[in-house]
Amino acid sequence: MDKPCILVVDDDREIVKAISINLENEGYRVLKAYDGLQALDMLSSQSVQLILLDVMMPKLDGLSATMKIRQDKNIPIIILSAKSEDTDKVLGLSMGADDYVTKPFNPMELMARVKSQLRRYMTLGDINVKGKSNLLRSGGLCFDPDTYTLTVDGEPVKLTPTETKIVELLLRNAGRVFSTEEIYERVWEGPAYGAENTVMVHIRRIREKIEINPKEPKYLKVVWGIGYKIEKI
């Protein structure tokens, strides 16, 4: 159990190989499967810590495989798909996948997502056991008001005091949309006259720090023309 084992499933052997090389370079053990049934077979016989799963595959497609795996296993699943529609993403996530990466993906980004999911799966479990009740949480995002620290998938993130305040405000009210004025008034505690841009730039910086791909944020989302929010996950 020293090296985490990752199962890569895709009917395109070259893609599987490329991903494997990247993963092995990162120091993971890799199992390869080329269809859904093969993947399920391997899962039953081997200990796997993460699955990278293509959607369109022969014999058993990725979404059905996800549903089958979720019946008895809690391991992280990252779906790899050429389908880039929002509806496809929502469908994949609602089936029980932890992340959704569209093809063609940036190998670096994929590695980052793999790391993040693994961290969460392996270390976050411990924190959960410790069970500090006043932690603010949204998915892999975790804010400790006592120590004033933010961790993403267990990895601490360095934030400025203003940024920390903004994150705390949004995390405490996860799911609620805050307008820039409201954020300014609550964080800077002053009238928000012409200060919108300040808030917006701050938010962009936070996003760059906590998101793997700031262009497609997972936690801190822009509600265009209205404001900002942190998703309740």
Partner: protein, 696 residues
């Protein structure tokens, strides 16, 4: 063969009906005609059926006449009437069928064809010779008659003898007659009785005997009236039997045709179709003529010509049978198929060959002309009525009614036309609103019928074209989705392996350069594929838009904040003029973010170094929000404003190495999908994009 039989079957059944009906009607008619002679006829029929010749009235009349002759000749009375011996010859002609013996004691004259007196010199009954079974005997005072050994009471009131010429002898008084002389003469003329004599001789004391043979035989030498009577009795039996058979056959045919009435009706339909084609006026006139027949018969009786009456009554029956069938089957058409409607129809077929405007004008002219003619006719006949009175009023009224009817027809048609026009207009409106389902159904006779049909065809064409278009758009989207998927899979490998290569160490520098180009180009391909996919979805109307109330000013600021880093690195000066108060519009924020991202991204890419980029938002008339992005291009914009959106498609020169060149096209289709408008203006080096949205 089989079909032929099937075809002719209704006719055969109908023929059965026709013949059966004729026979039954004829029988009924004969029955009615003989009502006043019914007793006589029954007697005759009864006698004929029994073949009892000698108790029939005909026989009695014959014998009575023969008695009359004898009575006159024995008294030499015949001379008064200038009668020669011809009547005596009639007695003679019977040969051995009739034995007569007459004696006048006063003159001692004896008339006989027999050698004996058959015992009439004695008192009492005469003795019949062998082979004879009938006698009529006057013994000087009384009549005695016997037939087949049975005595006949000649004096009985209802006996046939009293009805014959014998009545005067029986009564003994010519004036106590039930029959007057005039009628007698008439009957003689009509050949009903032989005797021309109007009065009677005194036969008191004379003895007159007539005896008839049991089996009346033919007299080969002369015409025997008795034999003739016998023969006619025999044929009458045959005739009665035949009549009965014919009557029964008629009833059978009628019953058969009634049982098979469904088949019969087929032929009725053929008849009705034929008679339906005849004008109402013709039928009315013929009916008026024919209805006269029963009226005439009722008024004057049928004596003048029974056969003609018979045939006329049958014609009358069949005519009205046809008329009722016609009326029942054709209903309104029975009346509406008249000369006026035919005239109108003829006019209409003439009119239909003209163009619509001409036809409408022509109709007004035709109406005016027809009304003018009718007015003149009415005037003429009314003047005639004032001058001559009486019969001229009817045509005047008829022509007046025709004029009113014509005007009514025209007005009705005109009002229908107006209604139809309204419906056509409504239909055009409905088509405009996109209703491709409901068809315009006008009456086939309407003037606008062709127009309505053409409109329906146009509607059908549009609906087909739209359907086709939607289908082809959907196919396009499907194709692009599939193609983009098929492009993405190999691209994933390319990007992955290019990335692996770029991480490879110890490669010569020029190889590293090649790899860098591979990485760059594969990235460009990636954005290109994503943009094409998005654009094709937007232009095919497959784009899902989630509209909500958003602040356009805030959206622009958020976008700018998102691009903050790139803006500050660009060396361009951004001049932002956005009102502090919110500018609310109803739109899809995500899509609009893409729009501004593309537009500002373009400004960053193509602006002259060190120049200013102006981004303004203003509200016009409180109704429209106008966002404008202006920048100075870093190249010569030698294209027209419209072309810039299609540049990629047209393969223009100003394509760049980065991006897909689809940014503007995507922006415009997104804006349109979000309910806004996007215009591009080029003025020298000034590039200006205007976005317009309706204020909430």
């Amino acid at each position: 063969m089989d079909t032929k039989l099937k075809k002719s079957k209704p006719f055969l059944i109908w023929l059965c009906f026709f013949i059966g009906m004729n026979i039954v009607i004829s029988a009924i008619m004969l029955g009615i005609m003989s009502l006043d002679e019914i007793n006589d006829n029954f007697d005759v029929i009864r006698a004929v059926l029994k073949q009892d010749l000698k108790s029939s009235q005909n026989f009695i009349n014959l014998i009575a006449d023969r008695f009359d002759f004898l009575a006159r000749y024995i008294n030499d009375d015949a001379d008064r009437y200038n009668a020669s011996g011809e009547y005596l010859d009639r007695l003679e002609n019977e040969g051995e069928n009739l034995i007569y013996y007459a004696i006048n004691p006063k003159t001692e004259k004896i008339l006989t064809n027999s050698k004996t007196d058959h015992g009439i010199s004695e008192k009492g009954k005469p003795s019949l010779p062998k082979g004879y079974d009938y006698f009529l005997y006057f013994d000087g005072e009384r009549f005695i008659a016997e037939q087949g050994g049975k005595t006949i009471d000649v004096y009985r009131k209802d006996s046939g003898y009293k009805k014959s010429t014998l009545w005067r002898y029986i009564n003994g008084n010519p004036s106590s007659s039930t029959v007057n002389a005039g009628e007698l003469a008439l009957k003689h003329q009509a050949g009903l009785i032989d005797s021309p004599f109007a009065d009677m001789p005194d036969i008191k004391g004379c003895k007159i005997l007539l005896m008839v043979k049991k089996n009346i035989i033919e007299n080969p030498y002369a015409y025997s009236s008795l034999y003739n009577l016998k023969r006619s009795f025999e044929t009458a039996l045959v005739i009665i039997a035949a009549a009965l058979i014919i009557f029964l056959a008629g009833v059978a045919l009628l019953v058969f045709s009634i049982i098979k009435r469904n088949v019969k009706r087929e032929f009725d339909k053929v008849l009705v179709r034929k008679s339906g084609a005849v004008w109402f006026e013709v039928k009315a006139v013929i009916s008026l003529f024919i209805i006269n027949i029963p009226l005439q018969v009722l008024m004057y009786g049928w004596y003048f010509n029974k056969e003609l009456v018979h045939v006329l009554i049958l014609i009358c029956f069949w005519w009205f049978y046809l008329m009722f069938k016609d009326l029942y089957a054709n209903r309104r058409r029975f009346f509406s198929n008249n000369s006026i409607s035919s005239l109108i129809k003829f006019y209409r077929s003439f009119e239909s060959r003209k163009p619509f405007q001409k036809a409408m004008l022509l109709r007004i002219y035709a109406l005016i002309a027809a009304e003018a003619v009718l007015v003149i006719l009415v005037a003429i006949f009314f003047y005639g009525f004032l001058a001559e009175g009486g019969i001229y009023l009817l045509p005047a009224l008829v022509f007046f009614a025709m004029g009113v009817y014509l005007a009514y027809r025209y007005l009705k048609r005109y009002s229908n036309e107006i209604g139809d026009m309204g419906r056509v207009l409504d239909h055009i409106e409905a088509i405009k609103k996109g209703d491709m389902e409901t068809k315009l159904a006008l009456d086939p006779g309407a003037d606008l019928y062709t127009a309505a049909e053409n409109l329906n065809k146009i509607q059908e064409g549009i609906s087909k074209a739209v359907e086709e278009k939607i289908r082809s758009e959907r196919m396009k989207v499907e194709l692009i989705t599939n193609v983009s998927h098929d492009l993405k899979t190999p691209l994933t490998s390319i990007i992955s392996y290019a990335d692996l290569l770029s991480k490879e160490e110890g490669l010569p520098d020029h190889v590293m350069d090649y790899i860098k180009i591979l990485v760059q180009k594969s990235d460009r391909l990636k954005t290109l594929i994503q943009d094409i996919f998005e654009l094709s979805k937007a232009t095919s109307g497959d784009l899902k838009v989630e509209k909500e109330r958003i602040d356009l000013g805030k959206l622009i600021r958020q976008t700018l904040a998102d691009l903050d880093e790139r803006i500050s690195q660009s060396g361009l000066l951004f001049k932002i003029d956005i009102p502090d108060e919110p500018v609310y519009i109803i739109s899809d924020g995500k899509k609009l973010y893409r729009v501004f991202l593309n537009l500002i991204g373009n400004a960053l890419k193509y602006s002259l170094e060190g120049s200013r980029v102006y981004i303004t938002l203003e509200v016009k008339d409180g109704k429209k929000a106008m966002a404008v992005i202006k920048n100075i291009a870093n190249y010569e914009m030698d294209f027209k404003e419209e072309e810039v959106l299609e540049r990629f498609v047209r393969g223009d020169k100003s394509r760049t190495t980065e991006g897909s060149g689809l940014g503007l096209a995507i922006a415009r289709s997104f804006v349109q999908a979000c309910g806004g408008s996007m215009n591009i203006k080029v003025d020298g080096d000034l590039f200006k994009v205007e976005l317009g949205f309706n204020i909430e």
